[in-house]
Symmetry: D2
Subunit: 279 residues, 4 copies
């Protein structure tokens, strides 16, 4: 069982929560806890339920009771469950392929029931891995119609998480809010540098000596959502824009896959514009 | 208060320890816990004692009682205390200077009451920072005599930790055992590659593309002690041995200072040849 | 045209070589040159042949004449040519897939006419990318028979380079010598640390704080060939051997692909146990 | 002798320049050359003058003649010369100390004849290393008066390069232009992210997962000058602003010292907003 808690800080939270788990027969395997300035308490507990002496419902009931006392938000997950993850793409194969092959290799513990493309380019790649591909073109003058279709597909597929793997369209606030904190986007720059279009061109013009990638939760405010993972690599004057794009691809797919992995392992809590990512 | 615990795993350890702290009026600020395969339990707790309702002696008594039940080893530290750290050097100034300036800048919370040199080269540097320097030459034919003198000096200075900042002499098992897990050495390679002498020459000969540095606890078995911190940087065919040495110096001092810092913050537990270093 | 030269150093080499090219109507686009201690001269020139006023044969003749004077070894390549690269695998899909997808994306400019497996596991992956897969099992008691078959296949496929993408068998000196400086192997550790089998297990036992990967030319002496590319990433006490393996996979495939890329771009000169890798 | 050349590209430049050097009896030790899209040619040559058969004046005359033909800009340096470098500081000791100790250790081949502080805080540090310290307070209402004084001091000290080692005042366009491409500034963020004041506070608010530092040439346009060196390190939710500042300090001083080093080794050519930094 994985338990994520965030609440105002006060003495005794760890003792009460772990005391409750102990009485119920659970054994704590990993616990990480953090109090942020301004008195916010965050905790992730991974506990073994093999010796649990009460039902799951009873455990959840007792935890919810305690959370009310603590004015806490709680999320409870079964590490054995495989979340359903939908991927949205345009034409760039690298990040999609990385996600699908890591799922196949068992690095990512999830099911991928659906790939949506605004272009019909990556169908063969999705199908190679046995994943249904749906082509939903987007008419820029009627974005909402396409979004309606996509929301229906995501719903039908039971998607808990949506990954934008170089999906090149802007999504409406309505769409994003429907999957609040459940849409992960990859931006091909080291945010907040080079927001918007053609970040590698911007980076080349500015003559930077490193390029990066940022995986973040999508919000209505483009490129402003809470950051989950970032990384960067050196470049030099010999790198053309094309070479930067190639080099960036490697880091983008790594950063995106890592963000999906920490999300699947239930290591992420969002707090305003910031994230807590437990180790 | 900082509490470090290691013991065989069993259900309820976190609950019991944090319950005890809660009852005593302490507030947990940071808790990190980890269970290793083979059922070893490790935990670090940083708790605020502002609201403590019992004496420090009473708290320690209750904790020791619980530790006996858990067959645990415990260390209890006051984060306000400034451990006394002695530094042993030969002729290389960079790591000594880095330690002394980081202590002065408040990055390292410790006192440095003593620098020992087997050569009399770094006295001015030590004295610039107001630290007494003692020259203890070592006659290779009578190592133990010199060690006797040094043990006396360390004792007198009340050194809790000894840092070998490029001290180029081999110490006897007797010396090392007296300060078991309390001597930190910097080896100028990415151990276990290039043990022994002149690692940069070895690295150049082998044509490696990265060089590194390793901070580890000294043991009787040279270059085999538990590793605390490692890092590495790229090199290429243009780097001569001298350029590697220069480039390595930067990483050595960083790695050594970081190892001293995590030790001072009581984040390190040694377990056989491995270390647990809490974040 | 790409020209690689290595020879004893003497004044005037650059002037003579570039003078010859200029007279023949070529324009130097990139030139990198390096003199190593002990007076060894290395140079790589990438020149534009659009304005060449003599035939390719004539150019090569003049260059060879000059090389004789300089006692130089020379290699001459057409950057437009796509070298034929064979891949040898066992059962690990990640590095093979990375190579094939990077070739498809145009990151690696080569043809892959053949994948050989000592097990019949990765056939579907190879065939997905349209590459013929040949299963050549190896009887440990009759290694040479299998190698005979493989040499025949490589010959037939016209392989200029052989990539061991986690091929788990030891090859004979005879085999390796046939493709001297043309077999690239990936070793899943930061050589020379953890040679031999199960390096991640060794790394875990030793308690290192970084793990790495090494791409090198295969030689009869296992894990001792000239290193082309290395990289490393941090690990900590929470990483089990399995987590290290997963984390290592990412770095292995990156390091291997980069080594193949610099080889394809004719940036590598071997000199004894060391390599010059031009930027 | 070190020769830096930038000019419009045309065939034969390398041949003509190295031919000229060869005839004059020089031996090329390192040559790096690069042609950028848009046909700009850049080259750095390090040549041994031990066998030179003409005078320095004659060599320079011949080179200047050739440069006129090529419409090239040329810089000619003696690697044995030690450029005079002035440092400007406010109250932060780390980067100043790093520069002074690296000069002392021979890593930076330069003289430091002057440290200017707008506060009188770092005088003892400068004087420890035997460098004269001049306190020039700046009245925000009469900036130019202070700048006048400083220009006089820099002139008197014969400063070829000015290093802003966390100098916290804004300099006028007039001042900056006087030392065009000869003022190196360190900005404590990964530019272009977090320009302006308190970048670590900005970084914390934005919740980034890496922090960086940027060494660049100062221009009238603050934080917009050509970048010389950048680097970045990971941070996480546990890092307070203060921890980021501490962690950033390490990277700032490293990046600044590296930028000064490549400048001293005459490896930098500025081209608009971009720099070519030869390896």
């Amino acid at each position: 069982m994985i338990l994520l808690i965030s609440c105002p800080d006060q003495p005794g939270i760890v003792a009460r929560v772990t005391g409750l788990l102990f009485e119920a027969g659970l054994n704590v395997l990993d616990l990480e806890q953090h109090v942020e300035e301004g008195s916010l308490f965050f905790m992730r507990i991974h506990a073994d339920t093999a010796g649990m002496r009460i039902t799951g419902e009873e455990l959840e009931y007792r935890l919810r009771e305690l959370m009310e006392l603590l004015e806490a938000e709680m999320r409870l997950h079964d590490p054995a469950e495989r979340p359903r993850v939908a991927v949205m793409v345009s034409s760039e194969p690298a990040p999609l392929q990385d996600l699908l092959s890591k799922r196949e290799a068992g690095v990512l513990s999830c099911d991928v029931p659906l790939v949506i493309g605004d272009r019909d380019v990556l169908r063969p790649l999705a199908e190679l891995y046995g994943v249904p591909f749906r082509h939903v073109p987007m008419d820029p003058n009627d974005r909402l119609a396409a979004e309606e279709v996509m929301l229906g597909l995501l719903d039908e597929a039971g998607a808990e998480l949506v990954v934008l793997a170089r999906y090149m369209r802007v999504l409406s606030a309505g769409f994003v809010d429907r999957y609040a904190q459940r849409i992960i986007n990859i931006h091909h720059s080291f945010l907040p540098a080079f927001k918007g279009n053609r970040p590698y061109h911007q980076a080349w013009e500015r003559g930077v000596k490193m390029i990066g990638a940022t995986a973040h939760f999508a919000t209505a405010d483009l490129d402003e959502g809470p950051i989950i993972v970032q990384d960067a690599v050196p470049v030099n004057h010999q790198h053309t824009v094309e070479a930067m794009i190639q080099r960036g691809m490697e880091i983008e797919r790594r950063v995106l896959a890592e963000a999906v992995q920490v999300w699947l392992e239930r290591r992420v809590i969002v707090r305003g514009r910031r994230t807590v990512v437990f180790h």
